[in-house]
């Protein structure tokens, strides 16, 4: 019984990681551009559909690389074409824009691929389970976890240890000062959007073999991802990471205690508590522009 309980808690922690790839992109795009990207889930869905389309030709491994790149390019097009016009505008406008985009994207997927879910399976080389004593884990999820962890570490390195990251972080805190120093934020904004949206596409590829692939799948993931961002605190890299693990942990514990029906409700309850007692989020930094 205890083994099961421990296993549930570990599984919960890993469960949280699935939201992480979406949440990090959301948080980045919001921090730098002030855009609450409600269409972020749509890019996740596009990533999954691209896997179904490309998979038979270039294999899952190929799709794992190509699909996120294509989604990132799409992200650049949207950033240049639409998002950049709203960086300094009332957030309500960008909220409406991305809300509309999400609907258009969902309907477009429905028109092209039809409403019924599409099938896609785990490639044969990643099938199977890992057994450690009484513990069991799927080989595929272990790979998923590894890829997600690499992305998070890579992103952290990029933001904290490189010249690129320093400009982005400065841009988050004080874009006017960055401008006054003669640095144009434009290419940085574009790169951040491409990165964030590309990560959503990557999440789509990674989850396609184990989740149902249907036009509204973006909506399914965007809400919990937002919850993670709100709990973690905007602008905080590790805040989002910790919040994702925390959400997974609480979910896992709820199921382990025998209440799976509350496993979704409980994360909204967590968000409510955070909003009531610490609206900035657990690790949220003070961002001048948003105070």
């Amino acid at each position: 019984m205890l083994t099961l309980f421990i296993q549930q808690i570990l599984n919960g922690l890993l469960d949280g990681v699935y939201y992480l790839l979406i949440a990090i992109g959301l948080s980045l795009i919001f921090s730098l551009g002030g855009i609450v990207n409600l269409a972020h889930g749509a890019f996740y869905a596009i990533g999954a559909y691209l896997t179904v389309v490309l998979g038979p030709h270039i294999g899952f491994g190929g799709a794992l690389v190509v699909s996120p790149v294509l989604v990132a390019i799409l992200g650049i097009i949207f950033e240049r074409g639409l998002f950049q016009r709203f960086y300094r505008a009332d957030p309500i406008l960008s909220l409406l824009l991305t809300f509309g985009l999400a609907m258009v994207a969902e309907q477009t997927l429905r028109m092209i691929f039809g409403a019924p879910p599409l099938s896609y399976s785990i490639p044969s080389w990643l099938r199977g389970q890992i057994f450690l004593g009484d513990f069991i884990y799927s080989k595929y999820r272990a790979m998923l976890l590894l890829v997600a962890a690499l992305c998070v570490v890579g992103l952290w390195f990029l933001l904290q240890k490189t010249a690129f990251g320093r400009v982005v972080r400065a841009g988050v805190q004080n874009p006017d000062m960055v401008g006054a120093l003669g640095i144009s934020l434009k290419p940085y904004m574009m790169s951040v959007a491409a990165l964030g949206i590309g990560l959503a596409g990557l999440a789509g590829v990674l989850l396609a073999p184990i989740y149902s692939i249907h036009p509204a799948m973006g909506q399914e993931i965007i809400t919990p991802a937002f919850v993670v961002v709100v709990i973690g605190g905007l602008g905080s890299f590790w805040g989002v990471v910790v919040a994702a693990l925390l959400v997974g942990l609480v979910k896992g514990t709820t199921i382990a205690l025998g209440y799976p029906q509350w496993s979704i409700t409980v994360i909204y309850f967590m968000m409510l508590l955070v909003l009531l007692f610490r609206p900035r989020g657990l690790f949220g930094e003070r961002i001048q522009r948003f105070e």
Binding site: A115, P116, S121, I210, P260
Partner: protein, 420 residues
């Protein structure tokens, strides 16, 4: 004119774009255009979820209805008049009833057809009763609709939960998976799931099954890993799914991923979900009202016509919507009337209809449930699968040829309908 020019140039590109966007959304979102009334047309109203977690099934329903209408009109329409169908996304129970009311009062439809959600069936049935319009449910399974909530104006071509449970249950008993066996179930946490669990428990208890545990699953949950760990630890003899929609696909994919080998069965199912789970992931024993591999001439003709028009075979949701349009047209032509009271009388008297199976079916007068054959399907071994659609094998019709069609339906004791 000059002023106009100045006005035009003062509108920024952004405002123009926003305007175009709003206009585009308006066109997409606007409900059906009001059609002029004319005497030479007979209209049916069709409501079904086109979006949300039942949307994938709704698409098959709509495609089937379109095909049926085409065929009815090609065969001369109804009493020489053209059949026209108004189709709407029912969205949720409240919207469903508003749209049903509009179809009856403004568009003067002769009858209402459709639905998948049991909750929406209930609100449409209330409109049907109030306006004395015939409503035929093509996809809501809840027993309560045929029991406590039954009404004179609502008929059901879709099978009730009890028919699904008893059909699949027979197959499970034949496999020795019921008597003295420990079963573990997962149930969709909403009206349909709860109703199905109740019926499933009744069946399993009556036949000597031992209930191990039931876990309620939120309808928007996508990850089943935690529940799979619970199942693995409980070591049941049988895993039962009372899940719905995309939940089933997610469950099947992840069940295969975790490599659990306890037998799986479900009491509610749709072929589209088996297709979505795909070869190698789809497994277990499941009940269906109909499927595209049934060996009757009518099924073959329907599957051929549907595949030609839409490039894929129909799934079971298409069966109900297609057949009810045909049944309605046939009945109206026979009676030479669209009168609701006459239709109800005709059906209650036990008129028989061919529904592409080995035996014709009929509406049972006591609760308006359509009595017809059902089937269980099981996954084919991977080596025998030739394409993405034909991934299962079917039982023969249930009930068998020598049995009464009513043996799988609810008995008077299980669900009583007091027609109002």
């Amino acid at each position: 004119m000059k002023d106009m020019n100045r006005l035009a140039s003062s509108i920024s590109r952004r405002q123009a774009l926003a305007g175009i966007g709003v206009a585009a959304v308006g066109v997409v979102a606007s409900p059906s255009i009001i059609r002029a009334q004319s005497a030479d047309v007979i209209r049916f109203g069709h409501l079904t979820p086109r979006t949300g977690f039942l949307g994938p099934l709704g698409e098959f329903a709509v495609q089937a209805v379109d095909l049926a209408v085409e065929e009815v009109n090609a065969a001369g329409g109804i009493m020489g008049r053209k059949l026209e169908i108004l189709k709407e996304d029912s969205v949720n129970p409240q919207t469903a009833s508003t749209k049903a009311e509009r179809m009856v009062e403004r568009d003067k439809v002769a009858c209402l057809l459709g639905e998948i959600s049991s909750a929406s069936c209930l609100t449409i049935a209330q409109v049907a009763q109030r306006t004395k319009t015939l409503f035929v449910n093509t996809g809501g399974n809840s027993d309560a609709l045929r029991g406590a909530n039954c009404n004179r104006y609502m008929f059901h071509i879709e099978s009730q939960n009890s028919m699904y449970v008893k059909t699949c249950g027979r197959s499970l008993m034949a496999q020795g998976l019921v008597k003295g066996k420990k079963w573990f179930s997962l149930t969709a946490d909403y009206a349909f799931g709860h109703d199905l669990l109740k019926v499933a428990k009744r069946f399993m208890e009556a036949n000597g099954g031992q209930f191990a545990a039931d876990k309620l699953v939120p309808t928007d949950a996508t990850d089943f890993s935690a529940l799979l760990l619970e199942i693995r630890a409980a070591k049941p003899d049988l895993v039962i799914s009372n899940l719905a929609g995309n939940q089933i696909t997610n469950f099947l994919k992840q069940y295969a991923e975790f490599g659990l080998d306890f037998p799986v069965a479900g009491f509610g199912f749709d072929t589209a979900l088996a297709w979505a789970a795909g070869k190698g992931n789809f497994g277990g024993t499941w009940p269906v009202v109909w499927h595209h591999l049934i060996d009757t001439p009518a099924t073959k003709a329907f599957v051929a016509a549907f595949t030609k028009k839409y490039g894929k075979p129909p799934e079971n949701q298409a069966w109900g919507d297609y057949n009810i349009v045909k049944i309605m047209a046939q009945s109206m032509n026979e009676l030479k009337s669209t009168d609701t009271a006459k239709l109800i009388e005709h059906w209650e008297k036990g008129a028989k209809f061919d529904v592409m199976k080995t035996r014709p079916g009929y509406f049972r007068a006591s609760d308006h449930q359509f009595m017809h054959e059902m089937y269980t399907i099981q996954a084919l071994p991977a080596s025998e699968i030739k394409n993405q659609w034909d991934i299962f094998k079917s039982s023969g019709p249930v009930p068998g040829p020598s049995e009464d069609l009513e043996v799988i339906a609810t008995t008077k004791e299980e669900a009583e309908c007091k027609m109002t």
